[in-house]
């Protein structure tokens, strides 16, 4: 290719590869191969540039036919890393398909775990929590805020991770799972926990309508008022912790937890504990 005969992936090809991943990681998803075809499509431009020979292309794309599934956002760091490894392989630097595959298979689990808790479990709930506040009373501002902020973070964040992965190779990942990465994740989980608590208190309100009356019809016990004087929103927290306990400790699925809630609600309505006070 150039004077030193060293093959180098052009910036244009890297951009194309990144965009293919950004738009296509999950388009051809199946339970059997999951993101494998998204991965194949995003590596294809790189393979084609590094190996002009058609048979070489076919031989080398086989490194990416193995099962792949991770968190697609943080996962772009893995694509970037394999891009740099593929470049090293094309230059005969002692890397073979097996090495690339081992690296991929070893990273997809940890990256999926970190990505799911950091992005799906923390970042998105924070953004959505803020957006919900802005969309009170039917204003579209919150939804627009979420669309703009999230998509900017997602696009440029993934782009950053991809090119970080390409530049640093497998060193890039140590930033995410190293000590500093762990401290950052812990700090972010504090923000996540507090915001989620705030979301619960601001938006969810489980109340009881139970009242006990004496012979003259005077209310002598209003349970909701009593509970609020102990801790405002106590019932909401109790129901949430019940759901958490069912799912985390008893390994009940989310769907069955919802069905249990229907049972609780029906029972509560029948005995007069719950009454939404509906009328036309």
């Amino acid at each position: 290719m150039d004077a030193s005969n060293e093959k180098k992936i052009s910036k244009k090809t890297l951009n194309k590869s990144f965009n293919l991943w950004f738009w296509g990681a999950l388009t051809c998803f199946s339970q059997e191969h999951m993101q494998t075809f998204g991965y194949l499509a995003s590596m294809l431009p790189i393979i084609k540039e590094l190996y002009p020979d058609k048979d070489e292309q076919q031989k080398n794309i086989h490194a990416y036919t193995a099962f792949f599934n991770t968190n697609p956002m943080l996962g772009s760091v893995i694509i970037g890393t394999t891009a740099s490894m593929e470049e090293a392989r094309a230059n005969g630097k002692g890397i073979d398909g097996e090495t690339i595959n081992d690296m991929r298979a070893g990273l997809m689990g940890p990256i999926a775990g970190i990505g799911d808790s950091l992005i799906d479990g923390t970042l998105i709930p924070i953004l959505l929590g803020l957006a919900l506040g802005m969309s009170q009373n039917g204003s579209p501002v919150g939804a627009i805020f979420y669309i703009v902020v999230w998509d900017l973070i997602a696009y440029f964040g993934q782009r950053f991770l991809y090119f970080r992965g390409y530049k640093l190779g497998d060193k890039a990942v140590s930033i995410l799972i190293g000590k500093q990465g762990k401290a950052i994740r812990h700090a972010i989980s504090i923000i996540g926990g507090m915001v989620v608590g705030g979301v619960l208190a601001s938006w969810v309100n489980v109340t009881t309508s139970l009242e006990l009356k004496d012979a003259t019809g005077k209310v002598f016990l209003n349970l909701q008022k009593q509970l609020d004087s102990i801790f405002p929103g106590l019932l909401t927290v109790v129901v949430t912790l019940l759901c958490w306990w069912l799912m985390a400790k008893k390994h009940v699925s989310a769907i069955w937890t919802m069905i249990i809630l229907i049972g609780v609600a029906l029972l509560g309505v029948l005995v007069g504990f719950f009454n939404p006070g509906l009328k036309y």
Binding site: P72, D120, W150, A201, S202, A248, A265, N275
Partner: protein, 289 residues
């Protein structure tokens, strides 16, 4: 309120773009267009009532504030929640004459959205199953060295899966479902047991969503403390979410500094013991500061 064929078809198109294996990419499709809050805006524009759409979107979003899909298993399908559930909820709320911003309307939207979303996870598995056909094409293309066709496998053929299991179900269910929802209004009176239960469940469903999230962030029981502090700030002190976020930034900063300090001072000792006991260390060191 009714949903015309044209409106139903546009909803169907958005369903193709946003489902868990989405045609608009994971960040834009699943994580933007698919979120019920954004779905509420889109449905509001399509059905011509943005405030009502947003109100339904906000209510349903609470249930699905943490929609984590570990290992590609879904408990609920965003296309069904956002583009079948929300339109039907909008019809139901307007046909019952509820105030869109009342808690009754919100609970209605939550119940309906969750029901449709849960049943709709069938659509997710159907699309993933049909994609196996295109993937079989893909393996053949690699074997025959027609690598360029892989782009078609990833970006072209899956549209057919979505035509069958996103576009058509959404279009048919929103068009005919709107009439059914209106008919149901007369069948189920608001003060009957079924409707009372439905609305009570609606009020409790977000607890499941929050609990799913807690499962992600709570490893030991002390991890509940930030969550409870956040709850107290809002419930007892009536702070809004931006204020709570700013307060939480301070705590995050303190925790970051403590953890980095611990990592530095323990440099050389094994990393695993540091990480295993870090939560205990934090409590002790906090007192020193």
């Amino acid at each position: 309120m009714t949903i015309s064929w044209l409106q139903a078809a546009i909803l169907g198109l958005f369903a193709c773009l946003c489902s868990n294996s989405c045609m608009a990419g994971q960040a834009v499709g699943n994580y933007t267009i698919g979120r019920p809050l954004v779905g509420g805006l889109v449905c509001g524009i399509i059905l011509g009532n943005v405030p009502l759409g947003i109100a339904c979107g906000v209510a349903t979003q609470l249930v699905y504030i943490a929609l984590v899909t570990p290992g590609g298993t879904v408990a609920a399908d965003v296309r069904a929640i956002s583009y079948i559930g929300i339109p039907l909820a909008m019809v139901a709320i307007s046909s019952r004459g509820l105030n869109p911003f009342s808690s009754d309307a919100a609970n209605m939207a939550k119940s309906l959205g969750t029901l449709v979303g849960t049943v709709g996870s069938v659509l997710f598995y159907a699309v993933a199953f049909m994609n196996l056909i295109w993937q079989a094409f893909g393996w053949k293309d690699i074997e025959n060295n027609k690598l360029n066709r892989l782009y078609g496998v990833d970006f072209g053929w899956p549209w057919l899966s979505h035509l069958c299991f996103s576009f058509l179900p959404t279009m048919l269910m929103t068009h005919f479902g709107a009439q059914a929802v209106t008919a149901l209004r007369n069948a189920l009176p608001m003060d009957g047991i079924p409707m009372k239960t439905l609305f009570t469940v609606g009020a409790m469903l977000p607890c499941v969503g929050i609990a799913i999230l807690l499962r992600q962030i709570v490893n030991t029981s002390v991890d509940f403390i930030p969550f409870l502090v956040g709850f107290t700030l809002a419930a007892s002190l009536h702070l809004n979410l931006v204020s709570i976020t700013i307060i939480s930034l301070l705590f995050a900063m303190i925790f970051y500094e403590i953890e980095m300090f611990g990592a530095k001072s323990d440099n050389g000792s094994s990393a695993s013991t540091v990480s295993a006991s870090s939560s205990d260390d934090d409590d002790e060191e906090e007192e020193d500061i």
